[in-house]
Symmetry: C2
Subunit: 255 residues, 2 copies
C-alpha cells in the first residue's frame, strides 16, 4: 500500500503541516520507504518534487517541509513498491498534458492485467501498473473529448466510469487533477476533510506538531485535504465509500 | 536573452559546479531574474526544479547547489522574460512525453509568428513563444515518426531541419533531449566543452569557485557541458556557429 495526499483550496495555501505528517510514514511511522513525490499547482503552472529515496530522510522532502510553497492544488504520494522497481521513473505522481493543461495522477493499489489495455496517445515511461492506468485514463478522455466538454459534470461522470472499470482489476484509490478540479476515487480507503471558518487547531497523528489554523488563515479560506488515512487526531474526517468518487473545486465539494 | 545550460555524461555526474556559476547570472552577475528551471534525468526518470523567482536568491536553487544530484543528462535555463509574463507555467525547461520517453526543451531567443504554427498533439500550457515552438517540434516529430526511427541520424537530421525552419523566425538557441541524446542548436550563441582524462582544474567566471575535476572523476568519465557563454575562465570552450546543431550521447559528440 502507498499513501496518498491531496489538497484543493480557494486561495494559495501551503501544505507543510499535512506533508510533515505524511513524510513520517515514508520509513518512520509507516513502511512506505520506496520513494515519494509531490506536485504543486500555481495557477496552470506545475512544480514537482520527486525522490526515489525514503521521504523520512530525504533532503528534498525536508525542503518541502521548511519552504512553504503556496498552491491551490496539491497531489502527493509516498510509495511502497509492489509493481515496478524502485526508480525515479516509477515514482508518483505522474503528469501528462491534455488540452493545454497539466494533468497529474497518483494511485494506491494494484491493477491486475492493466498492461493489456491498449494505449494510443500516452505511453508510460516507467514500468508501474499505475502509470499505465493513468495513460489509459488520459487516452480515453482524449479519444472521447478531443476538446474539453462544456460541462464539468460530463467529464466528472466519464472519469467516474473509467475508475469503476479500473476498480474491477484490483485496488484503485486515486487522486487526479486537471489543474483546476481534484478528482478522488476510493476503492478501499480514502478520507477527506474540509476546513473553513471558524478555524480550530489540529494535531498530527504521525508527528508531535499542532497547528492553530485560525492563525494561518483568513476567514474566507476553504481548504480540503484528502489522504489515505486521517492525518490528524482531533478532527472528524469523512471516510469515502468503495466505488465513490468526489470532486473538489477551490476547496469545495462539487455535488 | 536567457541563459542555457546542458550536460551529457557517460556516468551519473552532478552539475553543482556549473549550476553554481549559472545561478549567479539570475539577478547577480547577469540580468536573468525572471525565473529558472533545471531538469535532471536519471535513466528514463526525470526530476525537475522550477522557480519563477530569481535563481540567485532561490531557496530551491540553493538546494540544487548543495545537494549533488547525479545525472546523465541535464537541461537548465534561467530566464529574462520577453514573451509571456513571469509565471511558473512560463518557466523553462518544458517537458512532454513521446514514445514513452520524457522530452525536455529549453530555448533562448524570440520567434516572431510562431503562434500561427498549427498544433495537433501537444499544446502549450503557458504563453511563451518557446513552449509553442517546443509543442510544434514534438508535433512534427510525432507526425513524421509515430514510432522511433531505427537510426538516430534520421531523427537528428529531422530535428536539424525543424530548427533551421524556426531560426527563420528570429533567434533560436535551444537544448532538447529525449532522455538519451542531447541536441543543441545555435542561432547566435552557444558554447560547449567536453571534459575527459587527464582532468584538470577549472575556475568559474561568475563565482569564486575552483574545482579540481581530477578529484571528482574517474579516468573513464566523459562529461560535456553546453552553455550560452563559457562558464569557466581557464578552459577552451567550443563556440558553435549560427545554424549549427550538435548532438551528444553519453558525453561524446556524435558525428
Amino acid at each position: 500500500m502507498c499513501e496518498l495526499l491531496g489538497m484543493s483550496a480557494n486561495t494559495p495555501t501551503d501544505i507543510v503541516f499535512s506533508f510533515s505528517g505524511l513524510m513520517q510514514r515514508g520509513g518512520k511511522t509507516g513502511p512506505h520507504s520506496d520513494g515519494w513525490g509531490i506536485a504543486f499547482y500555481e495557477g496552470k503552472g506545475l512544480r514537482e518534487f520527486r525522490d526515489p529515496s525514503p521521504s523520512c530522510d530525504s533532503e528534498i522532502a525536508n525542503l518541502v517541509c521548511r519552504y512553504p510553497i503556496k498552491s491551490n492544488i496539491v497531489v502527493s504520494h509516498i510509495r511502497q513498491a509492489n509493481a515496478g522497481r524502485i526508480a525515479l521513473e516509477n515514482t508518483h505522481p505522474f503528469t501528462r498534458e491534455l488540452w493545454g493543461k497539466y494533468w497529474t495522477f497518483a494511485h494506491n493499489g494494484q491493477l491486475k492485467g492493466i498492461k493489456k489495455y491498449p494505449l494510443k496517445h500516452y505511453f508510460p515511461v516507467g514500468t508501474t501498473d499505475s502509470e499505465h492506468a493513468f495513460c489509459w485514463i488520459m487516452d480515453q478522455i482524449r479519444e472521447r473529448f478531443p476538446r474539453p466538454p462544456k460541462r464539468t459534470s460530463t467529464i466528472q461522470k466519464f472519469i467516474q466510469k473509467l475508475c469503476d472499470q479500473l476498480w474491477e482489476l484490483g485496488v484503485f484509490n486515486m487522486l487526479l487533477t486537471d489543474s483546476r478540479y481534484l478528482f478522488c476515487y476510493c476503492s478501499t480507503r480514502l478520507n477527506w476533510i474540509t476546513r473553513r471558518a471558524p478555524f480550530d487547531q489540529a494535531s498530527l497523528k504521525d508527528a508531535d506538531i499542532t497547528i492553530d489554523f485560525a492563525k494561518e488563515t483568513t476567514e474566507n479560506d476553504v481548504v480540503t485535504v484528502v489522504a489515505t488515512d486521517p492525518l490528524t487526531i482531533d478532527e472528524t474526517w469523512q471516510a469515502m465509500n468503495p466505488g465513490e468518487m468526489v470532486m473538489f473545486d477551490q476547496g469545495e465539494l462539487c455535488k
